[in-house]
Structures are given as structure tokens and as C-alpha cells.
Subunit: 635 residues, 2 copies
């Protein structure tokens, strides 16, 4: 890995910067989202969510913990859970990316102020956590299973990496390096043979190595990845699989246990594999993720079926009721899929990212950017209550969008993803650019040989299916690859050569582009039936409707009192278009009530015909209390 | 309520003794199980389980906690969770019942020794809990939500009630009265306006009032029941419904929240309603239970679908995968159903008890009585591991039968139910006896007017469906009512008048009985298809097979390598008899694997014909690691 200068990344900063791989990511100065679906969400994120998160962290004392810790004494007043430091770091990372997207003096000052507070809490030896190690606090690293110390350090490092890439090395990078050095000193080859119960330090250390050129961080990340799976974490009732600690990373066949933990670990393993040229490790993780997609992922791209341990279920255990599908698992799956996309060039990882963005990330955030789903169920049987704007939700997990949670990881996690989202749209290789996500965006970069390339993309996707790409820069001919999603049977492209069909599931290639060339991709946006693998017991006999990349759902506010759970759809008629949703027909009929719900045969149900409006799943629970279902039983 | 003398109950002791109601329960001296399905399980319970539980409680220090507490000082060495005292009390209750079933000098000495230990730990003011109130411990009643103090007192009282009824008042009753007096002093009309996060004190205090004639205990139980539902428990992330504290008992429509909590509370509410003549309260609880049976109960009678909070799900949310169906919820539902049976005389409550006994209680216990299911899933996708006999299972919940759990409520709970099971078989009214459960048993009692009545019942039920009842005592003619289960279409009875059909779901009546009369009930035991209410999403498109009161299941050990989850049964052919199980036919075929489990249409699956053996669900996981499913998808 070449040593990298510590000035700002000339690309404007990118979330992941592998030293090798099939695709090169572009930075925030190279890709700018300037409108449309994601442009408005970025505006809400920058204009409301970041401030909202900061206000809650101040109110709850999570930022204040750093000031308290500065005294060197543990305070009985330390506020929040043992991982609250990480929320402050995630917010700092989000602010760092947001400054790359849109400079702002006030926000710049805020980040510097937070950096000073964090620095002041750092121990002389580099250790940094507000909850451990001072008089009156628990000893450092006394609870590797649930202490979240290395997890917090990981998020500190990620914030520093974002900052350094966007703005150049500053004191936050110093703080992160000293904290990382302390981690390496403590957990190095001759140190404590342990791992953190919550992975995150692994990808963070590789990214820090990429920014600093310091090999030691990569080696430590590799050590953590290889140590995992040997049951070094003390036995706990959740079991070792919860921590992905029951089986070595390279021996596992599928992601399991706590979903966010598993996905962060896998991301770190890909980072290690890429930087060390360990193709065996890369292939192992890719195979695990592929199997997870094939057997343990909701239609929405949501991962982690279980509430009890926020964990993946067994293969094909994907109940719509109380689907957990944690928002953070969506963010983490984007992290992993992006790394695999860069490493392998496989467009299927962009398909997954698109699915998660439109159906998990976009679902989680409220219109005003000030409340969030923690979990993203696919079936709501009782109307969601409304949570007051000043109410902190205790604990975590299910329920309605809430302004804040006692465990509030999801909110700053989405914020950092949205602020850096431009970095996930387009990649480059030696021959040109690859468009992975469709959005109003402008791209300007140079290929490896120095040639300028650029494009302007315009679309009202996903409301509409037309995407126009105009070439804005070309020092000689280059090739554009436009992703054609696997659902897009019937897609066409129009270019200099005219209009033609393109097969779904593989990129459409446009070689020899010159400035002024315009390409139009027309994706079929008719709503379509989707049936589940028969091994998914929980939705047997059901269909869903998708439209483009968007999963649709039935919501009670559209049903004039009809009970959604009494709906049976008629799949002989295709779903009809209805704005950005669809209409399906069928019958509504509630079975007669009896004293016992099991019988030799069920009594006949009288049904009346019904037309049911379906809306994008990401828009549900925005029009007052409602019930909802994605999977619709067939007649 | 009449004052009751404090000598032993001449009936030999009964678990519930209401002062009024449609049916009078019989005691352990009046009904004796002397063989058959339950006889062998009682023998295992008395011969292995009680000793096993005692050994674990000694090994883990739960019994020793009482000795440590005797010093009056909190010890940092206090062992176990905050509710471990209650396990010792449940064991004492089980031993007390077992002594009623079968006197044993060693066991008698053991109970006296435990009583002395418990008494020694009681504070001078009557308060008794080993984890609170001493120097170095948390203050008394400082955590009503999760402290389990009143819960533990409730189980102490239940143990004392059992002991007093079986053997007469002894020092355990003194201890319990002093503890109950302290509860009344603390939480009485002018005391702390609070309730315990875990109900149990409510039925216990009513039972203590019944034993002692002391009205104060009934009044305190009534206070606790009426206080519940007003959110007096501090806000917690599990929500008030978890504690049934979000809505008053008499206003609720269905049981909700933590299943065991809800069922214990409802049992206490019935006890209060019966003793105070509060028919409104009785009807409210009966309606809640009826609705719970109709919408929130598994085919097995299991209750509580959720792992995360051990709670009832919404109506019709009854996933087979990871069905929680806690063993303790089965015991608690028997408690509630029995109270409602005594109060109302409705045979449907005996139907429920039968279902739970054969499909939850009998399932939980291993053949040797030394390991237990905590949760009783209806679908096991990966083979159950074997737990070593010396391994304590951390925490609680799912997984295989284990010899012990960190939270080991289920094991002594089943033990106390099995030891007192004879008390749940038969009741009396003014005209005769009602047989609710079929078992090898002898009954001898007197009716209210003093007439002796008796019978001897012989059956190999549920392996066979023939039940023979011979009248063994009759001072003049009396009437026998034999429950005919609702599934028993085609049942016949044979008596003096010959053989005739009887309708299912209502008792068959035999008046004017005399000594020597013999009645034969023939229940149809052909296995039968059972289909679920279409609102139970999780098992749509599936059938189950039941045989008599027993739910059957497919288990992989019978399938020679075929994947149970690939089975599709053909319901055009009725299930064939196969011993106490059944055989069904269908096809086995695993769908081809793809990268994504959702598609426009699913690829065709090649299947091969298969005959699948089904065995009683209560026998699963006894022949080595296996997968299992109760609900079978149809072709």
C-alpha cells in the first residue's frame, strides 16, 4: 500500500478507498447530487437531521460526557449507555462528509469544537472512552463482550478518516491515531488476545491505514479478523454466534448472529482481504454475503429477522410480522456491498445497494428528518402510534418512528450515509465510468491516465424510469457502463445508434463517447407481482408488488376502513399503475370468529370485491396511524 | 368466606379451593393416578426431577442464599438472579404435593430442613427475600418493575398453602403469614400504591385467605388486581403492556404482554372475583382468556409467541418458527383454565387443559425427568444440539432441552404441576362427578350431602381412545359426566343401555349410577387434518395432523435424510394411522437455489413422492439431534 500524503483527498473525500480493486470510487468533489429523490433527502439530512441529532446528544449529555471525562475522574453523572461516545463520533463523521458536500462555517466550527472536546477526554496514553478506566469507573477492557470500547474507537477513527479525506489531516486525525496506537499496543501480536463484542474497529483500522499509510493499523485489523471465531469472548446467554465468534471468518458459509455486528465484521474482512491481497478471504466473505442475500434477506433488502438478539434468523426465516430489519443493518449492508462492488466489479452489489437505499434507508427517515424507524417491519397489524417530538424511546427496536432512542445508533448512521451518498453512485476504471445508481448528479473526474471524463445525469427515478446521461467531458473517447437492474426486463437505451433493447441484470455499455453525447435509458416501471421462494414459510401463499426498485405496500389509510389482513388479491390481473404506486384487485372478507382458530376445515368467508391501492413502502406511516402489509395473501 | 380450621385438608390437599363455584375440586386423597401416561410421568417427577432440581439449587447456591441471609448481612456471594428464591419455593411446593401423593420420610425431612432455612432468613418484621434490604443489598421494594420481591413472596405463600393443605399448618405457614402480613402492611390501602412487575402474589394471597380464613389477604389481593393497569410501574423500554399495567384488568379485552405475567394475574383476578362474588370481573377475565384462545394460542396450547419479551403477539401472530410458547406459560394457562372451569363449569376449559398437558407440559420434560424445554417451538430448522448433563444454560428461552437454566422457572413449575396433577382430573357437584381428563385413576369422595361416590378409570389414552369407568362407590344413585372432546366426532359410549353415539364438545351424562356399573367411552383416534384460521399468516397454506388430543409432527430422524422443509403433503388422502402417530403422503423437492429468493415466478421444483411418518409432538427431540415441523405445507 503506497504511503498517502496527509492533505485532503483531491477527490473531495470518499467513504472507502481501497488501494486496489476492479473499480475506483469517486469522491464528493467528483460526484455531486443536485436534486431529485436523494437530493431532497440530503438537503433534509444537512438542514435538519444533523442539528436534531446534535441537540439530542447535548440534551442527554452524550457530548457533555467528554467534558466531564476531561477532569480525569469518572463521574457518577456520566450519561447514556456504554456506546454513546460512538453516536457522537458518527455525528462527527456525518458532519465531516456534509462539509465535503457543502462547506459551512458554522458547521466547520461545530466540528472543531467537538474535536477539541474529544481530544480533551483522551488519556495521556491515547486511550479514549468516557465510561471506562477513570477512578470510579469500570477498568478498561474489562468487558470485551459488551463494553463497546473498541467499537467506539472504530467510530472515532471513521470520523477522523472522513475529516482527513475531506479537509486534510487535523487534530481529529491525531486523536484517532493516538487511540489506534493504543489499541495496537494493547491488542497487538504480543498483547491481549481478544476481540471486541461489536466489530467496527476492523474496517476503521484499515481505512486509517489507507489515510496514513501506516501498515501497523492494517496488521492490527487483520489480527482482529483472524482472531474472531475462536470463542475468545466470554460465554454469554446470547451465544458466540451473536458475536460471529463461534466460527472463523474464513470458514463461515453465511452471515449469522447480530446482523450489524456480522456486517461490520464482514466489511472489515473485505478491507483486510483487499489490502493484503488475500483472495481466499475475499471470496469467503463474498460467498457468505451472496448466501445471506439468497436466504436471509427481506424483499426490502432488510437484514436481521429477530428482535430478541437483533440477529439473522435461520435460512428462509423471514417473517413479515415484526421483521426487525434494523436500519443500521441496512447501512452496514450498504458498506459491505459497496466494498464488494469495488473489489469485484459485480453489478449485483449495486442492485442490493439500490434495494436497501429505497426500501430501508428511505423508509427509516421521517419527512422532516427528525424521527426514524429503528426497525423496519414488513407487516403492521395495529395502527402505529405517534411519538411526541420530545420523547426519547427507551431501549431500541420496534415501534413507530421516534425522534430519539436510548440506543440511537440508527439516526447518526443514516446521517453519515446520506451525507456521503454521492460517493456510492458512480465508479471509474481505466476505460471510463460506471453508473450504479440513478440520480440527478454531475460527475467530473479523471481516469487513471489523466483523461478528463464527465457526465450529467437527469432523472425523476424512481417515480419515473427515464434516465438521461449527457457526456460533459472527454479527453478522447471513453466508455460508460449503465447498470440495468435485474427486474428491468424490456429496458431500452437510446444513443447515437438509435433505440435498442438491453438485457436486464448486466450493464449496458456505451463506448467511444464524446462530449455532447446523450444516452437515454428507459426502465420499465409497470408494477409487477413478486413471489417468494417457497421455503420462506412466513409468506407462503402471498405475493408482493414491486415497481422499479421500490417495494410497494398496502396501508390502511388508503382503505376506508377495510381490514388489510382480510384482503385476498387476485393475481390473474396484473397490478395496475397508479402514480408511483399500484392498484390491485381482490376481495376483502373477515373469517367468522370461532372459539378456536384450528379446525378440520375453515368456515367459508363472505368477501366483497375490493380494489386496493399500494404505495411505496418507504412512504408508509407518514399519514397518521395506520396498519400496513407488504405481502398480500392470494385469493 | 368461612373460616377454615388449620389442620390438613381432609381431601388430601388441592391446588385451588374456591369457596364457591360450579364445580368442587377433589384432593390428592380423593383422586389417585395409578398408572398410564401421567402415572409414569408422576413417577419420573417424584423419582428424578425433584432430586435433580434440589441438586442444582444446592450446587448453584440458591438454597444456600437463605443460610447466608440468616446472618442479617447482604453477602457479595449471594448467588443466582433476583428471583432464585422463588425456584426454591416452587420446589418446596412440589415436594409438599409429592408428599400428599406419596409419603416419604426422607422427603418430609428435606421439606422441614428447607423450611427451617427459609424461616431463618426472614427479617423480624416478616419481610423475606435473600437479595434485598440487608446492608450491602439494594433497598426493599426499590425496583417494583423487575425486583420480583412480591413474586417471590407469592411462591413462598403457594408452597405454604400446599403444605398446609396436605399436612396441616406448620412453621412454613407461619413464615408465609408473617411475610404476607408484611406485604399487607406495606402495600395496604394506606401503604405504597404499587404492584409487582411479575404478578403471582395475587392468586397466592387469595389461596392464603382460603387456608387461613384471614380476610385481609383477600382484600390485599383485590387491591393488587385493581391497582394493575394504571401505569404505576416506572416506564421501561418493554412498555407497560409487558406488565399488563397499561389497562385495568376489568377493562382489557385480551391477554397481552409477558405471557406468564398475564396468566398469573388473570388467575389471581379469577380468585378475587370468585371470593368476592364479582361476576363482572370474572366475566371480563373469562372473555379475555376466550379471546386469547381464539386468536393468540398455538395449536399445542402454547402461549406467548415472542422471544424478545416472552410475550403474546398481536392477534393471529403465531409463527411456528421460534414459537416461544414458554413451558411456564403452559403451567400458568392450566392454572387459569382450571379456575375458570371450577367457576363456570364450562368443559371447554378442560379441553384447553388437556391440550396443554399433552402438547406443552409433556413436551417440555425429557424422558429421564432431568432436562427441560424452556420454550416449545413448532418448527426446528437446524438439528437440536445435545446439552451436556452438567451444563447450565445461560439466560433463558429457546434451544434444546437443558438440565438447568440460569432462569430456571420452568423446571420446578412443571414439577409442582405434575406432583399435584391428580387434583385436575375430576370435579364434583351436588349430583355426582365430572371426569375432565382421562387417565388410570381411582376416585373416592363424598358429595356435599355426604354420599360416598367413587370410580375407577382405566385407559391407555392417548395411545388408545377407549376409556372404561367402573363405579366403585354409591350411597344411592349419582350422575357421572364424561367430557367428550370437541374433536371427537363419532365418539360412542356403552353403558347399561347399550352403545350409542355422543356429540363432541359436550359432556356425556350417565345418571342413576350404582356400584358395579361400567361405562365405556370410545373416542375416535384416527389422525386428522387440521387447518389454521386464514388470518394466521405464518402457517398459511399449511396443515397439521392431530390424533386425539395429541398434535403430531414430522421429525427428521424418521426421514432418512429428506429435508423436512422441502415436504409438500397431499391432503386429498387422509393421514393414515401409524401406531400413536400417522403417515402422510406427498412430495419432497428442494427448489433450485438462486441468488435472490424473490422473483416474478418461482422456478419449478422437481419432487419425488414421499411417505412421511408423523409422531406425537411431545416425543420430538428424544432420539438425537433432529429438525422438526408441526405445520406441513400442502402440495
Amino acid at each position: 500500500m503506497p504511503s498517502t500524503p496527509l492533505g485532503a483527498d483531491p477527490t473531495g473525500g470518499r467513504p472507502v478507498v481501497p488501494s486496489r480493486g476492479r473499480r475506483r470510487p469517486l469522491g464528493l468533489a467528483e460526484v455531486r447530487i443536485d436534486g431529485g429523490f436523494w437530493g431532497s433527502r440530503q438537503a433534509t439530512n444537512g438542514g435538519a437531521t444533523l442539528e436534531h441529532a446534535r441537540a439530542w446528544m447535548d440534551k442527554l449529555g452524550w457530548t457533555g460526557n467528554f467534558t466531564t471525562a476531561e477532569t480525569g475522574h469518572g463521574s457518577p453523572d456520566r450519561r447514556g449507555r456504554e456506546f454513546s461516545d460512538s453516536e457522537v463520533y458518527k455525528l462527527m463523521e456525518a458532519v465531516a462528509w456534509e462539509l465535503g458536500r457543502r462547506p459551512d462555517a458554522g458547521r466547520e466550527a461545530e466540528l472543531r469544537e467537538l474535536t477539541r472536546a474529544v481530544r480533551a477526554a483522551q488519556a495521556p496514553d491515547g486511550y479514549l472512552h468516557t465510561a471506562y478506566g477513570r477512578p470510579g469507573q469500570r477498568p478498561r477492557y474489562s468487558d470485551l463482550a459488551f463494553g463497546h470500547e473498541l467499537y467506539c474507537t472504530g467510530h472515532l477513527v471513521q470520523a477522523a478518516v472522513a475529516r482527513a479525506r475531506v479537509a486534510g489531516a487535523d487534530e481529529l486525525l491525531d486523536v484517532a491515531r493516538r487511540a489506534a496506537d493504543h489499541v495496537c499496543d494493547t491488542f497487538g501480536p504480543d498483547g491481549v488476545w481478544g476481540v471486541c463484542g461489536h466489530p467496527e474497529i476492523e474496517p476503521a483500522l484499515v481505512e486509517l491505514a489507507r489515510v496514513t499509510g501506516e501498515q501497523r493499523y492494517l496488521e492490527q485489523a487483520s489480527l482482529f479478523v483472524e482472531r474472531r471465531g475462536h470463542r475468545s469472548i466470554p460465554q454469554h446467554h446470547v451465544g458466540w454466534a451473536y458475536f460471529s465468534d463461534e466460527q472463523p471468518v474464513r470458514a463461515a458459509r453465511v452471515l449469522r448472529g447480530h446482523a450489524v455486528r456480522a456486517l461490520y465484521l464482514a466489511s472489515g474482512a473485505v478491507d483486510v482481504a483487499v489490502e493484503t491481497g488475500d483472495d481466499e478471504l475475499l471470496e469467503a466473505v463474498a460467498a457468505q454475503f451472496d448466501r445471506t442475500l439468497a436466504r436471509r434477506t427481506y424483499l426490502t433488502g432488510g437484514m436481521g429477522a429477530r428482535h430478541a438478539d437483533e440477529a439473522f434468523g435461520d435460512d428462509f426465516v423471514l417473517p413479515a410480522d415484526r421483521a426487525y430489519a434494523e436500519t443500521c443493518a441496512g447501512v452496514a449492508a450498504v458498506m459491505l456491498a459497496w466494498r464488494l462492488l469495488l473489489a469485484t466489479g459485480q453489478p449485483r452489489y449495486a442492485d442490493v445497494i439500490e434495494r436497501i437505499l429505497y426500501n430501508v434507508v428511505a423508509t427509516s427517515v421521517s419527512d422532516d428528518g427528525r424521527s426514524f424507524f429503528y426497525a423496519n417491519t414488513l407487516h403492521q397489524r395495529t395502527p402505529t402510534p405517534t411519538v411526541p417530538a420530545d420523547r426519547e424511546q427507551l431501549g431500541f427496536g420496534g415501534g413507530p418512528r421516534a425522534p430519539w432512542f436510548e440506543v440511537s445508533c440508527c439516526l447518526p448512521n443514516v446521517a453519515r450515509l446520506l451525507a456521503s451518498l454521492a460517493g456510492y453512485l458512480v465508479t471509474a476504471d481505466d476505460g471510463g465510468l460506471q453508473v450504479h445508481q440513478f440520480a440527478d448528479a454531475e460527475v467530473d473526474t479523471r481516469l487513471a491516465d489523466g483523461r478528463a471524463v464527465g457526465l450529467r445525469m437527469r432523472t425523476d427515478y424512481p417515480a419515473g424510469g427515464d434516465v438521461t446521461v449527457r457526456v460533459t467531458a472527454a479527453d478522447g473517447p471513453w466508455t460508460l457502463a449503465l447498470r440495468v437492474p435485474p427486474w428491468a426486463a424490456g429496458a431500452t437505451v437510446t444513443d447515437r445508434a438509435g433505440r435498442r433493447s438491453v438485457p436486464p441484470g448486466e450493464p449496458a455499455l456505451f463506448p467511444d463517447l464524446a462530449v455532447g453525447d446523450e444516452i437515454r435509458l428507459a426502465l420499465p416501471m409497470r408494477p409487477r407481482w413478486t413471489v417468494p421462494d417457497p421455503r420462506i414459510d412466513a409468506v407462503r401463499g402471498c405475493v408482493a408488488v414491486e415497481r422499479g426498485p421500490v417495494v410497494l405496500c398496502a396501508e390502511s389509510v388508503d382503505q376506508a376502513g377495510d381490514d388489510l389482513d382480510a384482503l385476498r388479491v387476485d393475481t390473474r390481473t396484473p397490478p395496475g399503475p397508479d402514480g408511483d404506486g399500484a392498484t390491485v384487485t381482490g376481495g376483502i372478507g373477515t373469517p367468522p370468529d370461532g372459539p378456536w382458530p384450528y379446525a378440520d376445515e375453515q368456515p367459508a368467508t363472505v368477501t366483497h370485491p375490493a380494489a386496493v391501492r399500494l404505495v411505496p413502502y418507504h412512504r408508509w406511516a407518514r399519514r397518521g396511524p395506520s396498519t400496513m402489509r407488504v405481502w398480500l395473501p392470494t385469493a
